[in-house]
Symmetry: C2
Subunit: 202 residues, 2 copies
Amino acid sequence: MVNNENTEIKIIEAAKEVFVHKGYDGARMQEIADKAEINKALLHYYFRSKTKLFEKVFNNIFKEIVTGVAASIENSKNIEELIENFVNVYFEELKKKPYIPQFVLHEINRNPEMIVDLIKSNGVDKQKFIGVILKEGNRKDLRPFNPIQILVNVLSMTIFPFVASGIIKGFIFDGDEDAFDTFINERKSHIVEFVQVAIFKK
Amino acid sequence: MVNNENTEIKIIEAAKEVFVHKGYDGARMQEIADKAEINKALLHYYFRSKTKLFEKVFNNIFKEIVTGVAASIENSKNIEELIENFVNVYFEELKKKPYIPQFVLHEINRNPEMIVDLIKSNGVDKQKFIGVILKEGNRKDLRPFNPIQILVNVLSMTIFPFVASGIIKGFIFDGDEDAFDTFINERKSHIVEFVQVAIFKK
DNA sequence: ATTATGTTTAACTATTTGGTTAAACCAGTT
DNA sequence: AACTGGTTTAACCAAATAGTTAAACATAAT
């Protein structure tokens, strides 16, 4: 009984790092071991296989995202608040962990069946997420857009720039990191404004 | 001299299929050979290495996308037309090839340096893409949004649903394919309407 | 028919990589 | 001190996989 807990955490952190940047197929157990400052055998002692380790890490990350979103919309009374809270919380989260969305989307794409178990095992309450937006959908001061479309609009505009940061950076900003950062910082309030202006009548 | 040209095409088509669905790391030369109905040695005879074959395929796909976009916005005189044309053309393209964006974004993420060469070697004229939107930016009947933000909004809303189809399908539509398809079909006109309503004053 | 050139194949090689094994190690318990 | 449990390691194994080789084959030119 020397390390245990500490080691496990170190492994998960290292695995997270490697999996997120290289994907499941591109990740190497050796690299994870190196990054965790242990050797490969110990890695397999803690998590029997690459698949098992990956599942742990992926679940971990997925839970982080879900609880993040849940918290951001928990106290939102109406659609205005919901959008503002979601975009604000999520944007800050993504600025800290910009590689997460691309990773999650790629892995779900690679193995779509996974998502069913994932939602189940994480006890995600769908209603909590789309309930507010559906209920608010028939407010008289809103344009008659399909609320699901609005939801996807907000998700798209918030998440996509991080998923496509490589292209946007290279294509629109000629590789200029600073210009891209400015753009991202400006974006948070832009989305809120843009959506508000679009959904309200008048 | 039996096959040659035909074989090369068959290889590229097979490689495209496999790379797009599995990614570079997940793709296997054997699987590509099988799908092209040849053996691995011939594969290496035509394209010396996995990397070389991948580059060819990726360039190919990238070019398709770029020319697609270029064509869609070529004859657009103002921002209204531009948005409508872009969304229409692109949506139909993506419905036919829904896996392309996720693939491209993942590979660029995996190897960001690639994009510089890619843009260079494809002779992409950036101005053509963002020129119209920048020029139209200070029309008096438009709200004073940053045109780049608008551009990214349109890109996001159009492309993201395909990148995140797995999550959207599973999460919002409980795995119901038909409901998702209906949503996608409705989406094309929704985006156009949504953006128009947002950008125009009054 | 023979030659030359490009095409196709089966069999092989070297390396990478996920995973295993058996022994050493360390701390607390008896 | 000897024992017991989990922990850690170096060395090893087997399978997968990118890439090679050398020979057979087909077609057109001489």
